[in-house]
Amino acid sequence: MTATADHEVGRARTRKEDARLVTGQTSWTDNIMLPGLAQVAFLRSPHAHARITSVNLDAARTAPGVIAVFAGADVAAEQGSLPCAWPVTEDIVIPNHPPMAVETVRYAGEIVAAVVARDRYAAADALELIDVEYEPLPPVLDMPAALEPGSPKVHAEGNKSYTWSLANGDLDAAFADAPVVIERTYRQQRLIPEAMEPRAVVVAPVADEFTMWSSTQIPHVLKVMLALVTGIPEHKLRVIAPDVGGGFGSKLQVTAEEVLALILARRLGRPVKWTESRTEGNAAVHHGRDQIQKIRIAADADGTLRGLDVDLLADMGAYLMIVTPGVPLLGAFMFNAIYKMAAYRFNCTGVFTTKTPTDAYRGAGRPEATYAIEHIMDDLAFHLGLDPLEVRERNWIKHEEFPYTTISGLTYDTGNYEAATALAKDLFQYEELRKEQSERNAASAQVRLGLGVSTYTEMCGLAPSRVLGSLRYAAGGWEHAAIRMLPTGMVEVITGSSAHGQGHETAWSQIVADELGVPFEDVRVLHGDTAISHKGMDTYGSRSLVVGGTALVSACGKVREKARVIAAAMMEVAPTDLEWADGRWAVRGDPDQGKTIGEIAFATFAAHDLPDGVEPSLDCDATIDPDNFSYPHGTHLCAVEVDTETGWVKIRSYVAVDDIGNVINPLIVDGQLHGGIVQGIAQALFEEAAYDDSGNLVTASLADYLIPSAADVPSFTLARTQTPSTLNPLGVKGVGEAGTIASTPAVVNAIVDALRPFGVTDVAMPCTPERVWRAINNALPSPGETPPLQPPAQNQVDGGGAA
């Protein structure tokens, strides 16, 4: 589907959403005011791990403006346990997770009491008057130590949640006589998603029915889960996600605050609002990443991969939230990436610690996997004295080999890694930069140049329900769309996807304009309100367009077929005499005779002359379950300058060539990539959720947790190759996470590439100036030693490997 003057799909349409967003006419959850609305504030544990010995609410209850105050014991009978929807193994440990702690707190930031007051100032004042006494328990902060037999326990069941494995091929044979074995341990630091809009929730009870507005990515899933957790019948619940200020996975959650707001509103019979402060959110919004990755590859002397062995420790934090244990599994299928090999083994152990729970964060499992494989491919290239792109080319799936079933069992439909890489090299001026790098190295320049490579792929379009079921995920991966044809020819589109910045209203309008032959302006997209969009699986995992867009195309097709019968009656011909051409039903061989969907809609509204048995409605809906994931890929190249005296890293240039299949709106696609790339750079250079020895989050505010500003990042050069997906009618693959997945390894590989002459093989993320400086200085030889300027000889086991 290419863009022509007549096609909406492919056009760089400016967004419909912008009109309210640039003028402040927005509907953020915290904007909502209702008569009698009370403000909720939560008291949170200052301890990582402690027993609650007493809670005194008396002073708070009599404070001015206070309506009610609750501790965990007050809501224990009705609060239930926050859900984990992904019990990845039969014997997984899923601890009870009360929204408000009753006896024990297991991370700093866990809720221990709630105040409901007339306004937020009165609520905050009353929090100060609550007296909670704790008996501190030992924090559990280090994953390997947590698995030792003598470790203090986060839960009575122990600190291991599960071990999940995947294996294919004869790994022992692959490693047994391998000429090259490389083993590395990488650390995926803990990250905080930091959507710009802090979470907020409003609940309005009317009789026994409840409307919840929440800053959520998943209004539909949330509604089902709230019914299951609280026992409120599902049909008495309505969930609205109004304008939502970013998510990145952090609002793919059923939160303690949502459940408690619902319970408090029910208890008090009045509407309540809770609005998060950023400092509160840094401790309480689920975190992302936090894995220790032990990875081992076996290769032939020419760099051909033989086998891959991955052993992960994944920090669950204190509890399992909605998909916490499943996040590493999404990476399990991606460690082998774009490469062919004979054997693969993946092992992951989920570990409890006394930290904020982890869960999905942009990319969810796939950035971790991509980082590890792309880093170790660079290590392999260095070991063999090969260019990093050369060693990749020797191993990647050739474009003529698609469809290709990988060692982890996924079948990639299409791809062209050669084309994306060739274009990226050209735009990047790869050879010229390599030359400059050699010159700087030869001159022992203070500022070195490093080139980083990331040839990523990912699995998007979550997900085939059958696959999710086989992985023990509780729900399906389908999506829903509906078309309401209005009498005047205008179109209302209802989607089960729930946008929070992605631009669905614009992209969906473009698709429908083409599918129904109506102007872009005549389409209105409705989403995020379960009373309007009654079914859906919401937005995450780069699924909206791939799955939701497919449902939309299907619904439009049904509308056209219904319209065909009515159009035939209007023109007094047989339906089979009509063809859909130029956006209307026309008589085959007599193109002057035709009816637009708008004309047919009005005739359907009047319903005067419909054929017998034909209902007076063009409205249709469709629910689509995908057969497979989709597989975007691309080549990202990053050039960094590293000041070896100060450790300062500057990104000099960055080229991203992505193949996301067909493009609905290039403006939106570029925006997704820009933002995604910066979020990946943020992991590489700036961000880390750090805890002190007592288990307190020391990066509790935006003053301490460094998310990059405009001054910290460059502009990027973007280009695309286009290999349409064969798995959906739009030929699309998804783009929401591509930038984040690709850029972290590109940046770190560039830094390590700059520092290889000093003997550096890794710099732990985030690569702060101090860490870069230490990496250089720790790797420097003692006086008298020869610096390791050359790669080690071939056939030598590198990295203390266990060949």
Binding site: T14, R15, E17, D18, A19, R20, L21, V22, T23, G24, Q25, T26, W28, D30, N31, M33, D119, R120, Y121, E194, A195, M196, E197, P198, D243, V244, G245, G246, F248, T275, S277, R278, T279, H500, G501, Q502, G503, L667, I668, D670, G671, Q672, L673, H674, G675, G676, I677, V678, Q679, S701, L702, A703, I707, S709, A710, A711, V713, S715, F716, G739
Partner: protein
């Protein structure tokens, strides 16, 4: 304490607690919810407004400090009622045309910070724009299109500075 101030051209006389933040006054007393709150340490800039024509983070100003002042929020930036693109400020247009926003939460603050930036420096370089917007965080756009939007608006804002 009694305060009198003008918000987006409308005069407000009120009696407020001395500790009330300007941003809470705007949102909860004056109903100007176009100005959002993104943090509690004045790092993010989402709540940026113009106070007597200069950009300030309204979370770090007390309502009583705005006594006698004129405040322009994102809702007062466009000519007319803001419902049609024709009346939009050049920066509002440029953010829309250059896709300088995604979720839009940082956008009011980003645009008002850019208004001040262009009033100070009508023809900035890319680097000056990036440095000038350092106090406003965005998590969606990667800043590239924000910078592009400000540079585009710079060409068309001469004489269009906001005199709030």
């Amino acid at each position: 304490m009694k305060i009198t101030l003008t918000i987006d051209g409308v005069r407000y006389d009120d009696d407020v607690e001395p500790r009330l933040l300007l941003v809470h006054y705007l949102r909860e007393h004056a109903g100007r919810t176009g100005t959002p709150i993104g943090c509690d340490t004045s790092n993010c800039g989402a709540c940026t407004v113009l106070l007597n024509g200069k950009s300030v983070k309204s979370c770090s100003v007390l309502a009583v400090q705005a006594d006698g002042a004129s405040v322009t929020t994102i809702q007062g930036l466009a000519a007319g009622n803001g419902s049609g693109e024709d009346g939009w400020h050049p920066l509002q247009k440029a953010f829309h045309e250059e896709h300088g926003l995604q979720c839009g939460y940082c956008t009011p603050g980003m645009i008002l910070a850019a208004v001040d930036l262009l009033n100070e420096n009508p023809n900035p370089t890319e680097e000056q724009v990036r440095d000038g917007l350092e106090g406003n965080l965005c998590r969606c756009t990667g800043y590239q299109n924000i910078v592009r939007a400000v540079l585009k608006a710079a060409g068309s804002t001469t004489g269009a500075g906001v005199q709030a």
